[in-house]
């Protein structure tokens, strides 16, 4: 953390009718920090965002911005008095206003506002485009205008709701980098809501994994990937092959033989082992004692590739390998696990 908390969410509950969407959410965001809320669709992450922005009312708990409570069970500060900027999906630019008026919407009219609009246009790389209409801009440009509009009034916090999901894959990474460069340059505090784990892991300082209306784990991206605290987080963050096994002491036995463990692990008994695809090592011409299987599929990505292998006992695994060594479909390969794996208690 790099400063005082800008946002403090405490025990927030929210239900729509009989359906409870948020079951006690806690979340802190420090000044200048970019936090990603990562979860599958329907996990309640957009609802959380709308509660922070003030578009919905919470049922229990509290939300404070800059130490001032803006939402509690008793009162609710309207969105216009929260100093929380919003960048929605697809930008939601005002279609009847040009780019400069969109950016200046939240500013009081005057020479300072004009200067600020120019400054923001420069910041998002659209200098000289102020008189264009939103429909004359590409999707990525629209997102940058939406960001400039949200940042112009110097909000305490900016909320980005799946801001890149409407862009095509080729543009996505580029626009994402541009947007987060702008956020970092502006020193803004921001929350990014996304279902794209790669997006969350690559741009955020910290990531909150949200599953089924709860924050399952909140931490640095590498910690989430290397040391997930639950099987659900391990499965959701990064690819994983799950293997049933039995744990005795510090090692576990499964269809891949005896594997070493890392991190905290449960006491002896039945477990689920989590192997990341890059932990597998494949080799040609397996001997009779090697664990082996048949290549049933391969995907080539240029810099590397994945290979699907059906082990002799029927277990299906996905391995990531260097592109130069991709085996052919139908080839027989031996499989080894090169590094310690994660273990979680098997749920009955």
């Amino acid at each position: 953390m790099s400063g005082d908390p800008v946002l403090e969410v405490r025990g927030v509950h929210k239900a729509f009718g009989a359906r409870e969407v948020l079951h006690g959410i806690d979340l802190d965001v420090a000044a200048g920090e970019i936090v990603a809320v990562l979860g599958p669709s329907g996990c309640g992450k957009t609802t959380l965002l709308r509660l922070i922005a003030g578009f919905e009312r919470l049922d229990a708990g509290s939300i404070a911005v800059n130490g001032i409570e803006v939402a509690g069970s008793q009162h609710c500060v309207p969105p216009e008095r929260r100093q929380v900027g919003v960048v929605p999906q697809e930008g939601a630019l005002f279609p009847h206003l040009d780019v400069a008026r969109n950016i200046g919407y939240g500013l009081h009219k005057g020479p300072e506002a004009t200067a600020r609009v120019h400054e923001m246009l420069e910041l998002v790389g659209l200098a000289g485009r102020g008189e264009q209409r939103p429909n004359e801009l590409s999707g990525g440009q629209q997102q940058r205008v939406a960001l400039a509009r949200a940042l112009a009034p110097r909000p305490s916090l900016v909320l980005l709701d799946e801001p890149f999901s409407s862009l095509d894959a080729a543009m996505r990474a580029q626009v994402r980098d541009e947007v987060f460069d702008v956020l970092r340059t502006a020193g803004a505090t921001a929350i990014l809501v996304t279902h794209d784990q790669q997006e969350a892991l690559s741009v955020a300082d910290r990531v909150a994994v949200m599953l089924d209306g709860r924050i399952a784990q909140f931490g640095d991206p590498d910690v989430l990937y290397e040391r997930p605290t639950s099987l659900e987080v391990a499965r959701f963050v990064g690819d994983a092959v799950l293997l049933p096994g039995t744990l005795t002491g510090d090692a576990a036995t499964c269809s891949l033989g005896e594997l070493a463990l890392r991190g905290d692990h449960p006491p002896s008994g039945p477990v689920v082992l989590v192997v990341r695809p890059e932990q597998f090592e494949l080799h040609g011409h397996p001997t009779a004692t090697d664990i082996a299987g048949l290549v049933v599929g391969r995907s080539f990505f240029g810099h590397d590739g994945t290979v699907r292998v059906a082990l002799d006992d029927g277990t299906m695994i996905v391995c990531r390998t260097h592109a130069g060594r991709l085996p052919q479909r139908g080839e027989r390969v031996g499989v080894r696990v090169g590094s310690p794996v994660l273990a979680f208690p098997a749920t009955p």
Partner: protein, 502 residues
Amino acid sequence: MKRDRPPLALIVPAAAASLVAVVPIWYLVDRSLDRGVDEVRDELWRRRTLDLVLNSVGLSAAVTALCVIIGVAAAWLVVRSNLAGRRFLHVAFALPLAVPSYLAAFAWISWRPQVAGFSGAVLVLTLVSYPYVMLPVAAALSRLDPGQEDVARSLGHSRLQVLLRLTLPQLRTSIAAGALLVALYVLSDFGAVAAMRYEAFTWVIYGAYRAGFNPSRAAILASVLVLLALVLVIAESSARGRAAARVGSGSPRVGTPVELGRATPLAYLFSAAVLLPAVVFPMWRIITWVTESVTADVQFSDVRDALWNTVKLAALAAAATIVLAFPVGVLAARSRGALGRVFERSTYVAHALPGIVVAISLVFVGVRLLRPIYLELPLLVLGYVVLFLPLAVGAVRNSVEQAPPRLEEVARSLGNGPMAVLRRITAPLALPGIGAGAAMVFLTTMKELPVTLVLRPTGTETLATRLWRHTSVSDYADAGPYALALVLFAAIPAALLAKATR
């Protein structure tokens, strides 16, 4: 956006508007009970009352069914087919809006008196009111995602199956809305049924008022009419179902027009069968009258004054109605509470009232409460407001519903309160739709007769009042110039409305 309570700055004017709209109900209740509850029961139990209900319901059902068929077919032809000249036809199909029902009726009666009765009333009312179905359906058709049709075709559906299983169900909302307008219009129309001597409710109510001997009978009959209208409004909101919102963000594309091929002559035949009796015939009659009137005693200055009064009143009515309809329409579109619905529904009540009942009830209120403006311009404008609020409320609600709520949320997060968002975002986005609503009120006011006749300031003549005075005594030659001026000038907003739905 979910708000716990809409701002007072909206609720107060909306409440005022719905209060204005229910003024006639106050009058009706007061008058109906004049002679006690027994009188009400006796009046309702008469065989004649049942006959009147059946007459009006039968007329309304026949006209509505015909209007739906003609309106949907015409809308599809001008929006989705490759018919040459469909842009011209789109405007031409809307032109009957410029022809007042009583004028169309007199055009027929003066030519072939034997059409009088049920068939004549059906003919005239269908020809003047099918645009109420065609315009909203054409607008909805052009908003549909043509990608859906392509997908359905690729899944093995024929054009006809696509029309029946995909297109028509999505048009349900706009067909239901248009059908409601037509049904209510027919129930409350007075001019055409009077000219056609068809014993509908309105004609009998008018008779009861005019004879003056039994105002409470007229009030009781008018109350039955209000109940019929209420049933229609409820039926429409259940037929409307859940409005199917456009899914996905694909930018709207204009679909490939459907090749008519060998059906082309049929399409032209249909267009001619509608436009000849609906537009060409009344114009021919009016021009005949005008040529006869060269010898008659019509002063040009009288026509000019009447035209000026008509335009002035129509502009005032359109402005006042939109101002009052705006808060009601916004609440109906944006607030999920019961309050918005109550306000909206209350404005629909007056829609089924014959203009004559609205006029008499405003006389009642004017004499009691608004003495200073009685038989002055403001009371007349108020009468138009009561009559045409539903048209304007519907237009405001529809156009506000189409402005994405997300834009309002963003504006709130940028520091604007609800009223500032309304002014800076919602209103500008809804402006084209609201403008179309204003044009509709303007047009309908130009043609309006009973309220104008009863509430106009002494000595004020409009095109409609002049026209009525001459045609009702079969003095068609003198009516000619007024009829021509009315139809020509009403054709302007009618054509604008057709363009707005393109």
